[in-house]
């Protein structure tokens, strides 16, 4: 008796799944007709994948599967690159997960994933054997203060920025803007974005308490909807007029100014591997550093090519000319 009921319950689910699968298959078929038999090919590291790449990036080892984890801020970028890569190399399967930089670093050092993405140096995190990990600085991201357009200011000196974030200045009129109270939008303590902004935007001063959100889209939404709000965002999120990107000490927040080292608030996007990268992981990382991504996808998504940087920075934050 019980069984029949369970069965009928299961049958309903199977039915639904069946319908879905049927709809899916008719569509999926034509799009990925040649991407279905990678299991057979996985072991023999076949060289027969399309030799379309001029950079030689995906000429070998472009089959098999790897898993990437880490920084949720980097996930869309890497996933987009993986999407492109996979469409060029149908034999390869790249899984891009997110979970945060800490998770990514932990997982890559434990060997659970092949590549761990992080928006901070591994050296800055406790409990990570940074010497075992190999750093690949795949991109640079610039950040700046984002304010609600209603405050009437789009340029701020670093001193004033510190005063705003430490709570010394509480109204925009003190800086010559509109008469609205300042609302701070922070990131959580452990966030890489916050670390970068605090280190290079506030010279290490601790921000006062304010609304705290982790996700860039949420921060953007809050800043755009709350009068007098100020937060910080990566350049890639300044896509419309809903928030104003602040110039700092008169330096415009542009890719060029970050590249030549004039704009101070930026960070590397790291992809870590345990030991030197091998196989598909290496091929994919090479692909990330190739011109196709560095001058194509990266700028499209609002990131800055790390190959174009004229300055570089070490884990301690010391900036030197390249």
């Amino acid at each position: 008796m019980k069984k029949t009921k369970l069965l009928s319950f299961a049958a309903l689910l199977i039915l639904l799944i069946g319908i879905l699968a049927a709809c899916g298959s008719s569509n999926g078929e034509d799009q990925e007709s040649n991407g279905s038999n990678e299991t057979d090919q996985e072991t023999d590291a076949s060289q027969d994948s399309e030799s379309e790449s001029d950079e030689g990036a995906s000429a070998e080892g472009a089959s098999g599967s790897i898993t990437i984890s880490g920084s949720s801020a980097m996930q869309p970028l890497v996933a987009a690159a993986a999407e492109q890569f996979m469409s060029e190399n149908p034999e390869a399967d790249i899984q891009v997960n997110a979970g945060g930089s800490g998770t990514g670093l932990s997982e890559v050092s434990e060997g659970t994933v092949d590549i761990g993405n992080s928006d901070v140096f591994a050296e800055e995190k406790d409990g990570i054997p940074a010497d075992e990990l190999v750093d690949h600085k795949v991109a640079v991201v610039g950040m700046t203060a984002a304010v609600n357009p209603g405050v009437g200011i789009d340029d701020i000196s670093k001193e004033d920025l510190k005063k705003v974030f430490t709570g010394e200045i509480t109204n925009w009129s003190e800086l010559g803007g509109e008469d609205v109270d300042i609302t701070l939008v922070n990131r959580p303590d452990s966030s890489g974005t916050r670390a970068t902004f605090v280190n290079f935007g506030l010279d290490g001063e601790t921000p006062a308490e304010g609304v705290t959100e982790d996700s860039s889209n949420t921060v953007k939404q809050i800043v755009s909807e709350t009068e007098g709000a100020i937060g910080y965002l990566a350049f890639s999120y300044f896509t419309d007029d809903s928030v104003t990107a602040m110039a700092i000490d008169g330096v415009e927040p542009t890719d060029e100014n970050v590249q030549n080292g004039e704009f101070p608030i930026w960070a590397y996007q790291h992809s870590y591997t345990k030991g030197e990268a091998e196989g598909l992981a290496k091929t994919f990382l090479d692909y990330l550093m190739s011109d196709e991504i560095q001058t194509g996808l990266l700028p499209e998504q609002g990131y800055i090519a790390s190959t174009k940087m004229q300055v570089e920075r070490d884990a301690e934050g010391n900036q030197t000319d390249k």
């Binding site: 800490g102 998770t103 406790d126 409990g127 959580p188 303590d189 890489g192 601790t206 609304v211 959100e213």
Partner: protein, 307 residues
């Protein structure tokens, strides 16, 4: 129903005695096994959480007293301080406040379904309740962020991110839990109770208040506690509307933070085994302990009622 039971009973009688006792044994083993699996799962999670949660105190030597009583949370400072009191307070505040709103609504809805309009009330409300469960917490969070927070900002004070916003979102989220369990509890009451009371000339309200509610109280309390447990553990929706501020709130309109929101915000960014990560697990342990305290309280209440 009766008819069928008698029929199948007749069939069963024909079967041999041996078969029956074997089936009996098998059934008992199967069912006990399931109970054991549940115990194992709970014990595994508990031990795991306890071991992980105690690490910050035992390995990293964070003072448990500071952790529980200090209001200063600053794990990244040169002199790191780990005071989780504001978060514990925030968690308890939103949980109790949302239960305060959702419990009357949920139990009221249950009474409406079982006592006031058993025929059509249930047909309308039951699907409504079930559909409320189906709305994902992320969506609740975004509706809270786009509708509720601006509303509070315009009609109240401050930024709109507040305990109040968190409470409202949570109340709606735990409403289905409370209503469903409460409805089951009320529905499970024997009809003789109602009929007896009504026969004595009591009005419907008197019957509900004096007879049904006391009789169902232990189950109703369980409903509220399970609702509170859900509120207590909810993370994504609350995180979007409560503001996640480390200070102790002074009013309903102040932003605050809960244990879960701090865990979600920081868990991904910290690495396993670091002090920060361990303190987050300690918060998870506190969540577990506090919910266990809830359960003990209800146990105590319900055992008193039954006597």
């Amino acid at each position: 129903m009766e008819n069928k039971a008698a029929l199948s009973a007749g069939e069963r009688l024909i079967k041999s005695k041996q078969n029956r006792s074997l089936g009996e044994l098998r059934g008992k083993i199967l069912v006990t096994l399931c109970a054991l699996i549940m115990i194992t799962a709970t014990v595994a999670v508990t031990i795991f959480l306890t071991v992980k949660g105690l690490q910050s105190f035992l390995v990293n030597h964070v003072s448990p007293i500071e952790f529980l009583t200090s209001t200063n949370w600053n794990p990244l400072a040169d002199q790191p301080s780990y005071g989780a009191l504001p978060f514990i307070f925030g968690s308890l505040a939103v949980t109790f406040l949302s239960a305060l709103i959702a419990a009357p609504l949920g139990i009221g809805g249950a009474i409406f379904m079982t006592e006031i309009a058993p025929s059509w009330g249930r047909k309308v409300l039951q699907p409504v309740i079930e559909l409320l469960v189906g709305i994902p917490s992320v969506v609740y969070g975004f509706i809270g962020l786009t509708v509720l927070v601006p509303f509070i900002r315009e009609h109240g004070a401050g930024t709109g991110f507040s305990i109040l916003a968190g409470t409202i979102v949570l109340s709606i989220m735990i409403l289905p839990t409370i209503t469903t369990i409460a409805t089951d509890a009320m529905g499970a009451l024997p009809n003789s109770l109602r009929e007896g009371s009504l026969a004595l000339g009591a009005t419907r309200w008197q019957t509900i208040r004096k007879v049904l509610l006391p009789a169902a109280l232990p189950s109703l309390l369980t409903a509220v506690v399970l609702g509170m447990a859900r509120a207590f553990g909810e993370a994504l929706a609350v995180q979007m509307v409560i503001g996640n501020v480390r200070n102790l709130p002074e009013s309903l309109l102040d932003p605050s933070a809960t244990l879960t929101t701090i865990i979600t915000l920081n868990m991904g960014h910290t690495t396993y085994g670091s002090v920060e990560n361990n303190t987050l697990w300690s918060m998870g342990l506190i969540l577990l302990i506090i919910s266990f305290v809830f359960i003990l309280i209800v146990r105590y209440l319900s055992s008193r009622r039954k006597i």
